[in-house]
C-alpha cells in the first residue's frame, strides 16, 4: 500500500513565525497535494505538484508556499504564520496515470496551532 509520511505530527507556532510542514512518499507517485481540513469546510486544496520542480496553486494558496525538490518530497511553507492558519494539514500523493482515475493516498496529518 502507498506510504505517505508527514512530519511533524503536531506543531505549535507563534504568530509571525515561519513553519515548514514536510511530506515524503515512497511510491514514486507523480502528483502530490497539500490540503487543510477545517470543520464545515472539508478538505481544501492549498498547493499541488505534478513532479519534481513543479508547484501549482490550489484553491486557497494565499499565505502558503510549496516546494517539490524531488519526486519523494513535498513541503508546505508558512512564511508568516497567522492564527487563521491553525488547522489540520494533510499531504496526499496520486499516481497521475492519466484519465482522471487517480486515487489519493493520504498521510496521517499535521495538527498546526498558531498562537
Amino acid at each position: 500500500e502507498a506510504a505517505v509520511t508527514q512530519s511533524p505530527r503536531n506543531k505549535v507556532a507563534v504568530t509571525g513565525g515561519k513553519v515548514t510542514l514536510s511530506c515524503n512518499q515512497t511510491n514514486n507517485h507523480n502528483n502530490m497535494y497539500w490540503y487543510r481540513q477545517d470543520t464545515g469546510h472539508g478538505l481544501r486544496l492549498i498547493h499541488y505538484s505534478y513532479g519534481a520542480g513543479s508547484t501549482e496553486k490550489g484553491d486557497i494558496p494565499d499565505g502558503y508556499k510549496a516546494s517539490r525538490p524531488s519526486q519523494e518530497n513535498f513541503s508546505l511553507i508558512l512564511e508568516l504564520a497567522t492564527p487563521s492558519q491553525t488547522s489540520v494539514y494533510f499531504c496526499a500523493s496520486g499516481e497521475g496515470t492519466g484519465g482522471g482515475a487517480e486515487t489519493l493516498y493520504f498521510g496521517s496529518g499535521t495538527r498546526l496551532t498558531v498562537l
Partner: protein, 114 residues
C-alpha cells in the same frame, strides 16, 4: 469551476438501518467520482470510485451508482454498523487532459448508535 456538494453535514442512525449520503457534482469534463472515508484521528482513505454511468460500484458493504444525467453519486449501505461511524467525503476528479486537481465536498459525518 468544478464543485462537489454534500447536503448533509451530520447523519445520525441506529445500528442496522439503511443509509444514503448525498453527493452531487458540477464539471464541464467527464467525471471520475470517489468516496473517501476518514475514521476518527485517521487519514482519509478510498472507499470506492467510478466513472461508468449507471453502473453500481460496491466495496465493504457500501455501494454507489454514478448517474451523469443527474450529476449524482450517492453512497448507500443497507445496514449500518457501529464501525461505520466516520466522516465521508465525496470527491471529483475530472478528465481534463492530465490536469487533475481533485475537488472534495465538505464531508458528511455519520454517527451510528447502538
Amino acid at each position: 469551476g468544478d464543485s462537489v456538494t454534500q447536503t448533509e453535514g451530520l447523519v445520525t442512525l441506529t445500528k442496522g438501518l439503511p443509509v444514503m449520503l448525498n453527493c452531487t457534482y458540477q464539471t464541464t469534463y467527464s467525471p471520475f467520482l470517489f468516496w473517501y472515508v476518514q475514521h476518527l484521528n485517521e487519514a482519509p482513505k478510498l472507499l470506492l470510485k467510478s466513472s461508468t454511468d449507471n453502473k453500481r460500484t460496491e466495496h465493504q458493504g457500501f455501494y454507489a451508482t454514478l448517474h451523469k444525467s443527474s450529476s449524482s453519486f450517492h453512497l448507500q449501505k443497507s445496514s449500518v454498523q457501529l464501525s461505520d461511524s466516520a466522516l465521508y467525503f465525496c470527491a471529483l476528479s475530472p478528465f481534463s487532459g492530465g490536469n487533475y486537481k481533485p475537488t472534495f465536498g465538505k464531508g458528511t459525518s455519520l454517527v451510528v448508535h447502538p
